[in-house]
């Protein structure tokens, strides 16, 4: 038996001779024997040491054995400490019962039989040793449980951090597809709670046109265990749908049984928009090439024919009737020229965009229309509160504003006010900083039934005069700059006011004198 395995046996008796005899009897057990001559001394030893068995004389001066036992038992550490009483007088069953109630464990009567004492002490010593070993084992187990719990908590924290930091919406479902977990991003995007989305609650976040297909695909995967993938719109908490690429994979246990499904939804709206923009750009470029060829092939003979009819109109050999036919032909040809100039010059005229002063472009446009403005009796009110430059193709901007000013003019055949304003706009939310140009007139206004179709190709309110392409082309040009074109038409007392507002993002630095020279059209 090593020292650390030994247990302490405390012997308490007021007579040193008795203590010596106990020591002799118990010596061969090989445990630590500790002696105390009084109850007080015994208590002192108990408090300082881990004692397996207390061997105690019942009759002692000051505090007798039973009283001593009662004091010992009051201390929580000693509630299970074994106490063996040694009694010189005969103990009745009642005395024993009293002893047991006070926490005694066993009794030995005098004269002490050495074998009996040894056997009894030895049993308790062994019991104590086992309990001590069990406690050690228990502590080790508790420590390991704590460790594993911490590991699990750490792993759980890592999973949550990861799941919430990825840009995707993520979810987990049981083998049958009942969703029981979503990451934070899911809640942020959908604005739902787990209670609302749990089980099949997420179905109504899907677009009605897609939900059936999505569910069929998922059902198939729940049944077969095959990974799932689909692309579909999902409604956000703002009510807008965005497109998501969604995947789900099954997670198997050690018996190849599906325990859960792990799924992600990646927002691909931006990619889709970029692809669409690219397709549109390619289409525009192809149209531009075709338009260039057509322009050349149409404009050359068109000029010759126009000139020929122009000459015919005044030719002396023709009578008035023939000349009127030539004049009509000339007017129709002018319509063709107008339409080819408008539609076929939709495409870039220079190879790269240059810094342009919108104010200069507007001034050019107003200068071009000066005669018309004067004839129609239209008063011009300019209010430019911006001197920034934007990167653009001057001819395109000129076309847009020539169209807006031209429309305004035509809406005011009997005069009115044309108000042209330019403003810098600061970055606001999703809207980048840029420049806003408004062209407002006090003309005939826009009928509500026309408002919706205003930007459609070949829609015109000017019967024979318009091509119906002006605003459509203007919108196309502004969209190329990632800008927007809007209008408002208000009925005011007696008259009406119509305002077209163009926003172009991406204003450059303040205009410098040397750059202003570049911006001329």
């Amino acid at each position: 038996m090593t020292n650390s395995d030994k247990v302490n046996i405390l012997m308490v008796d007021d007579q040193p001779a008795k203590l010596l005899s106990y020591e002799a009897i118990l010596g061969e057990l090989g445990e630590n024997l500790v002696k105390a001559l009084s109850g007080r001394e015994a208590l002192d030893i108990l408090l300082k040491n881990d004692v397996a068995v207390v061997l105690m004389d019942v009759s002692m001066p000051e505090i007798d054995g039973f009283e001593m036992a009662e004091i010992i038992r009051q201390h929580p550490r000693f509630q299970r400490t074994a106490i063996i009483f040694i009694s010189a007088v005969h103990l009745t069953d009642l005395d024993r019962l009293k002893g047991y109630q006070r926490g005694a464990v066993d009794y030995i009567s005098v004269p002490v039989v050495p074998e009996v004492l040894r056997a009894k002490v030895s049993v308790f010593a062994e019991l104590h040793r086992k309990r001590r070993q069990l406690e050690v084992l228990n502590r080790e187990l508790e420590a390991r449980v704590m460790e594993r719990t911490e590991e699990l908590q750490e792993s759980e924290t890592q999973f949550r951090t990861l799941a919430n930091s990825i840009p995707q919406l993520a979810w987990m479902a049981g083998p049958g597809g009942d969703v029981f977990w979503y990451n934070q991003r899911w809640y942020d995007y959908t604005g739902t709670t787990l209670e609302e989305a749990r089980g099949v609650g997420w179905h109504n976040l899907h677009h009605p046109e897609h939900v059936t297909r999505v569910l069929q695909g998922l059902e198939h995967s729940w049944e077969t265990g095959a990974p799932w993938e689909d692309t579909f719109p999902l409604r956000g908490q703002d009510g807008e749908y965005r497109w998501f690429l969604s995947r789900a994979v099954p997670i198997f246990d050690s018996h190849d049984k599906i325990t859960r499904w792990f799924g992600t939804c990646t927002d691909i709206s931006r990619q889709l928009a970029a692809e669409e923009a690219l397709r549109k750009t390619e289409r525009l470029a192809a149209m531009g090439r075709v338009a260039g060829i057509i322009a050349h092939e149409i404009n050359n003979p068109l000029e010759a024919i126009t000139n020929a009819f122009y000459l015919l109109q005044t030719h002396p050999s023709l009578d008035d009737e023939a000349r009127s036919y030539a004049r009509m032909a000339g007017e129709e040809l002018a319509r063709i020229s107008h339409i080819t100039r408008q539609s076929l010059s939709f495409y870039r005229e220079s190879q790269q965009a240059v810094p342009v002063s919108v104010a200069t472009v507007l001034d050019d446009v107003l200068e071009l229309q000066r005669r018309h403005l004067r004839i129609s009796g239209v008063e011009v009110d300019k209010d430019y509160k911006s001197n920034v430059l934007i990167l653009a193709y001057p001819a395109e901007l000129k076309q847009v504003f020539l169209n807006l000013v031209g429309n305004a003019l035509q809406a005011m055949p009997r005069g009115g006010r044309l108000r042209v304003t330019i403003r810098d706009t600061a970055e606001r939310g999703r809207l980048p900083r840029g420049i806003r140009i408004s062209v407002c007139d006090t003309g005939s206004g826009i009928k509500p039934e026309d408002a919706k179709r205003l930007f459609e190709p070949f829609f015109t309110t000017k019967s024979t005069k318009g091509t119906g392409l002006g605003l459509w082309i203007s919108k196309g040009i502004i969209q190329k700059y990632d800008g927007t074109i809007r209008f408002r038409s208000l009925k005011l007392n007696g008259g009406s006011a119509t305002c077209f507002s163009v926003f172009i993002p991406g204003a450059m630095a303040m205009q410098k004198p040397e750059l202003a020279a570049l911006s001329g059209v």
């Binding site: 260039g292 050349h296 404009n299 000029e303 000139n307 020929a308 020229s337 100039r341 005229e349």
Partner: protein, 113 residues
């Protein structure tokens, strides 16, 4: 100046009707010959011609006769990067009235200098 005979004749007639004296040439080479042989107040040339563009012709003219105004006409709606060499770059489909007015404008501008 134009390589297409019909267009050339009709444009000449339109300008004559407006009161101008017109000499025609159907190639850049011929145009430079005319300019060397007689005094001309303004050159009106097509931009797209086989072999040489109008702007290239304009550059040659400007190097010899810096003050001689040049108007270029184009059937396509693309303005070439070196269009600034010409005094005016016009679309062919502006029509005869605009053409005559533009010629008049450029002439009066060149005379004031």
């Amino acid at each position: 100046m134009d390589d297409e005979p019909n267009a050339l004749i009709l444009r000449k007639l339109v300008l004559q009707k407006a009161g101008y004296d017109v000499v025609t040439a159907n190639s850049a080479f011929q145009a430079l010959d005319v300019l060397t042989a007689q005094k001309v107040d303004l050159v009106l040339s097509d931009q797209h011609m086989p072999g040489q563009t109008g702007t290239e012709l304009a550059r040659q003219i400007k190097s010899k006769w810096p003050s001689l105004p040049v108007i270029l006409l184009s059937g396509v709606n693309e303005i070439p990067p070196d269009a600034d060499i010409a005094d005016l770059f016009l679309s062919k489909v502006e029509g005869p009235v605009n053409l005559c007015r533009s010629v008049g404008d450029v002439l009066s501008r060149s005379r004031t200098f």
